[in-house]
């Protein structure tokens, strides 16, 4: 009897599965219509599941209480061998319930696989283009790349992810999208299978080499939505993260405009020295459009790609979305960035000897200082509201 109470208490504890308010990856806090549809499908079934479990557990306790052997006599209970009607009933009843669930499942499934026509107008290099919001998502160990083809994906061959056609905008760690628009994703991988997942905006979709998987996202409100690679992809799987930054159409247009231009060339001494270091040490893998954007022949890595750093400072995270580039007050988090440049594998496990992940470059402290000075000239800060939203308390 004592142990009963323990069980009841425990199940009560487990029932209190309220999700914490600060859970940025919460799957039950939808922030867009797609995630909302999924949530609407799941919520009633969770309640149904609680009810069914309560009935089974209740029946068990009732049986326990009612039919336990109290050693009054040696009489056998009535020997019942079965009851066909009853058994047919409890075969049919769950079948009917599950059939109903199936119908709703199929409706939501169909809806999530629709592709909506929602072209928007963008100013690109001074002219107006009609853009069906679509982003090419490319996974590789252990970061995400986002490519924007502003003239549409017709005729863009995505079949070889290691050699993709040049895009108008190439960024990493953070995908920027306009709010209120369904964003079509074409997702692929440059090495192993990864999974792209922004719980607040939709479920997940694996990306696989040699395949282009369609998926989509939509956010109702401006904000930063967190994600995590969810298909085991090797050593630093847990450190392969990403964020979606949703903006108003106006902010999105400004972001596009900014990304399409090259940042001003550095002028100060340290930054110029840093650029020299960058050209010698970093351009084997990384791309900065104004330096090796035209001539990049691919990175010296298994995935054939490293993050494009042209507008490095316009993102708030780096190294697979795991480090904050800025302090909460908007200043550069120099310590972390220097540590990363000093010895990347120490900060994030990688397999540099197998050309997977950033190696320790063996830079001197002076070179690191110069490199930081150069990197800070690459683009401008996205503003405090986004910096603050990237902080995880």
């Amino acid at each position: 009897m004592r142990s009963w109470r323990g069980l009841v208490g425990l199940s009560a504890l487990l029932t209190v599965t309220g999700c914490a308010a600060d859970a940025e990856l919460d799957t039950m806090n939808p922030q867009g219509p797609l995630a909302q549809e999924i949530d609407n499908l799941l919520q009633p079934v969770l309640i149904l599941a609680y009810v069914v479990f309560a009935l089974v557990l209740g029946a068990t306790f009732l049986i326990w209480w009612k039919f336990r052997d109290n050693h009054e006599d040696e009489e056998f209970p009535k020997q019942v061998h079965g009851n066909t009607k009853l058994e047919l009933l409890w075969t049919a009843a769950p079948t009917v319930v599950l059939a109903v669930l199936s119908v709703f499942t199929l409706i939501v499934l169909a809806s999530l696989n629709d592709r909506e026509d929602n072209a928007i107008s963008l100013q690109v290099d001074g002219e107006s283009v009609t853009w069906e919001p679509e982003v090419v998502v490319v996974g590789q160990q252990w970061w995400w790349e986002f490519r924007y083809y502003l003239h549409g994906l017709d005729g863009v061959d995505l079949s070889d992810a290691r050699n993709l056609p040049p895009a108008d905008i190439v960024t990493s760690s953070q995908m920027i999208i306009p709010i209120g628009q369904e964003i079509e994703l074409s997702a692929t991988s440059r090495d192993v299978i990864h999974s792209f997942w922004i719980p607040a905006l939709n479920g997940k979709r694996d990306v696989a080499p040699g395949r282009v998987h369609p998926w989509k996202l939509e956010a109702d409100n401006p904000g930063v939505y967190f994600g995590q690679c969810t298909e085991f992809c090797g050593l630093s799987h847990s450190r392969m993260q990403m964020q979606v930054v949703a903006m108003t159409p106006e902010d999105f247009q400004s972001w596009i405009t900014e990304q399409l231009a090259n940042p001003a060339a550095p002028t100060d001494e340290a930054a110029l020295r840093g650029q020299a270091v960058f050209e010698i040490q970093c351009t084997r893998c990384h791309v900065v459009n104004s330096i090796n954007g035209e001539t990049s022949t691919g990175a010296d890595l298994v995935s054939n790609a490293a993050p494009n750093l042209t507008h490095f400072m316009s993102r708030t995270t780096y190294a697979g979305g795991i480090f904050n580039l800025y302090e909460p007050d908007g200043s550069l988090d120099r310590t972390q960035l220097e540590a990363w440049l000093r010895n990347a594998p120490e900060e994030k496990p990688a397999y540099a000897q197998g050309r997977r992940g950033m190696p320790a470059m063996g830079l001197s402290e002076d070179e690191i200082d110069d490199l930081v000075a150069y990197l800070t000239t690459l683009g401008t800060s996205p503003g405090l509201s986004i910096i603050e939203a990237t902080e995880v308390e």
Partner: protein, 645 residues
């Protein structure tokens, strides 16, 4: 007839069969299904503890954010080996232990159809298990997950020898499963006692028959997949090389076409066990025997049509997703039928809540949770939020731990006296149950919440601030409570054995049981039945003890002692022991090591295998000097001969 010829033709040299002689020699040469069952059980329990220790390491690492107990690389190896160990080296061989020991007894046979093959199954399994774990000291354990998705399992992305050990090791244990499955299928179909029609077989035997048939068809699929992986890694084949036009989803399909039936391979033995335990302690026959059997068969068939529900997020296309969503929904039906039939069996009974019964009731409620979360996975849009999160980890641990481990423990408590002739302590057993129940729910209950909060699977660490801290800590504490419960079980085993030393064996029928295995004394004598019983009804043993009076009341017509055989038969012809299954099995890991490290090693391995097969064929059917040798002039009580193949 040919008796004299056999007696005078002494076999030569190496081909003599082992003489027995007691001690360890008996165990390494045995072909007795009971000893093999015990070997399976003991080995599997050791690996259960090994896999459990790996789980504790995982929980220590994840107890707090930014855990530093295991590095990322070690963590990946530990979680891979936890899965591999628990599924292939603990749960499957534990089911094999029960199957080996009980199936011949439940169908009234003297042994399995192919006793030497049975020994081979065990030794090959052990060889594979040791081989897999050798990877820890020979260059690193597998690090690509138990599911080994391509291309991450390929040589570029997993350059250590770990995945080679995985591919070859699972190939070896797969041979064991396949051989054993064929053996037990033939045994069940061909060796039932007179009168035991298929629909008089105990539910456990029925479920094991379904399992064996699943194994027969599922193991070749994983074997093919593993060969593709071995060839890719060892010989540069391009089965998963996308640059050469391969599709990485090929591996997933092959793996899960095996992998999903595998789930039923794991769960059905447990369903069988509790279908024996619940009627016994409810003092009622199983409710709806035919429904139970047919729902098990239905699961066995439908289990082949649901594999892609592991791949809802993999990009297989909406039509496939829709089809597998539907099939997955409806496989819940036969499982639901079983749950309700067990409850109905208990309803109106006079239930003794022994330790075995507690574990069985635990299966009903805990498996229900796993089944219900399974329905939320079947809704594929919802699954895209849940898959590869801790919600899935919670789901399948409620199925595998709540459904399978609880069932196996129920079986331990129930059949311990059958196997060892003494009871396990009921008091410790009940403590065992409650501690395990609390620990289990504390560990895996919160994982539902963690998954819905967005915590991914297979991450070696997590940052503070995502709301994962509390429930991870609770789960980690819970895991040590589970460990405590297993420790209580081990203590129970030891204490009970010590107490039983020098005491007479427990009576023949400690639980007032129902099926044929209890007609033999405890522990079961080497020859099983003095006389093979003629079966007239389901629950034959019970029906020999009880009848009905004129008013239809149940009355005892015979005591258990009268019904049970006394095990005194002598001169029963039994299959002779053999060295060759062990020798053959010992060759396999050598070939495996040879493939990985130096092809020269395959030569001794190959010689051992081929040589032992020759010896196997040529060894005499019989050893005149053996303890159960050819029948002599002494009085015979049984004439049925066990097969000697």
């Amino acid at each position: 007839m040919t008796d004299t010829a056999v007696e005078t033709t002494r076999p030569i040299g190496v081909y003599t069969r082992p003489k027995g002689g007691g001690g360890w020699r008996d165990w390494v040469t045995t072909v007795d299904h009971k000893k093999i069952g015990i070997l399976y059980g003991a080995t599997a329990l050791v690996f259960f503890v090994v896999g459990g220790c790996e789980a504790l390491l995982i929980r220590l690492q994840l107890a707090t954010p930014n855990g530093t107990i295991l590095g990322a690389d070690t963590y990946n190896q530990v979680f891979t080996m936890h899965g591999v160990t628990m599924i292939f080296l603990a749960a499957m061989p534990l089911a094999a232990a029960f199957g080996n020991y009980l199936i011949p007894l439940q169908i009234g046979a003297r042994d399995v159809a192919f006793p030497r093959l049975n020994a081979l199954s065990f030794w090959v399994f052990l060889a594979g298990a040791i081989f897999l774990n050798l990877s820890w000291v020979l260059g690193g354990a597998p690090d690509g997950g138990w599911f080994g998705y391509a291309p991450n399992s390929g040589i570029i992305y997993s350059p250590s020898v770990g995945m080679d050990f995985y591919a070859i090791g699972l190939q070896i244990t797969g041979i064991a499963s396949l051989v054993s499955a064929i053996n037990l299928t033939v045994t069940i179909l061909n060796m039932r006692a007179p009168g035991m029609t298929l629909f008089k077989m105990p539910v456990f035997t029925w479920m094991m028959l379904v399992v064996q048939l699943l194994l027969v068809f599922a193991m070749p699929v994983i074997a093919v997949a593993l060969f593709l992986l071995i060839f890719s890694r060892q010989f540069g084949a391009n089965f998963f090389n996308t640059e050469m036009g391969a599709d990485p989803l090929l591996w997933q399909h092959l793996f899960w076409i095996f992998g999903h039936p595998e789930v039923y391979i794991l769960i059905l033995p447990s369903f069988g066990i509790i279908s024996e335990v619940i009627p016994t302690f409810s003092r009622k026959p199983i409710f709806g025997y035919e429904f139970m059997v047919f729902s098990g068969i239905a699961i066995g068939f439908m289990g082949w049509g649901v594999w892609a529900h592991h791949m809802f997020a993999s990009g297989i296309g909406p039509l496939s997703v829709a089809a597998f969503s539907l099939s997955t929904m409806f496989i819940a039906v036969p499982t639901g039928v079983k749950i309700l039939n067990w409850l109905a069996t208990m309803w109106g009974g006079k239930i003794k809540f022994t330790a075995a019964m507690l574990f069985a009731v635990g299966v009903i409620s805990m498996f229900t949770i796993g089944g219900l979360s399974g329905v939320t996975h079947a809704m594929s849009p919802a699954d895209t939020q849940q898959t590869d999160t801790y919600y899935v980890v919670a789901h399948f641990h409620y199925v595998i731990f709540g459904g399978i481990i609880f069932g196996l423990f129920s079986g331990f408590y129930f059949w311990w006296p059958k196997v060892f002739g003494h009871m396990l302590s009921e008091k410790l057993g009940k403590i065992n149950f409650w501690v395990m129940l609390v620990g289990f729910n504390m560990t895996f209950g919160p994982m539902h919440t963690l998954g819905l909060q967005g915590m991914s699977r297979r991450i070696d660490t997590y940052s503070p601030g995502f709301g994962f801290e509390l429930w991870n800590m609770v789960a980690s504490i819970g895991s040590f409570i589970i460990a405590t419960s297993v420790l209580i079980f081990v203590i129970n085993v030891i204490v009970s054995a010590v107490k039983a030393k020098g005491q007479p064996h427990c009576g023949p029928d400690p639980w007032d049981a129902r099926s044929l295995e209890w007609m033999t004394p405890n522990p079961t004598p080497e020859h099983n039945f003095d006389e093979v019983p003629v079966v007239e009804s389901l629950d034959e043993f019970w029906h020999r003890k009880y009848g009905t009076d004129e008013e239809g009341r149940i009355v005892r017509v015979a005591t258990a002692e009268e019904v049970c055989q006394d095990g005194s038969a002598t001169g029963v012809h039994l299959p002779s022991p053999s060295y060759w299954p062990l020798v053959f099995s010992a060759g396999l890991p050598l070939v495996g090591l040879g493939l990985i490290f130096s092809l020269w090693l395959t030569i001794p391995g190959g010689i051992m295998m081929v040589g032992s097969l020759f010896a196997w064929v040529f060894e005499p059917v019989d050893d005149p000097d053996g303890p159960h040798g050819h029948h002599d002039d002494s009085e015979e009580t049984a004439t049925e001969e066990a097969p000697v193949v």
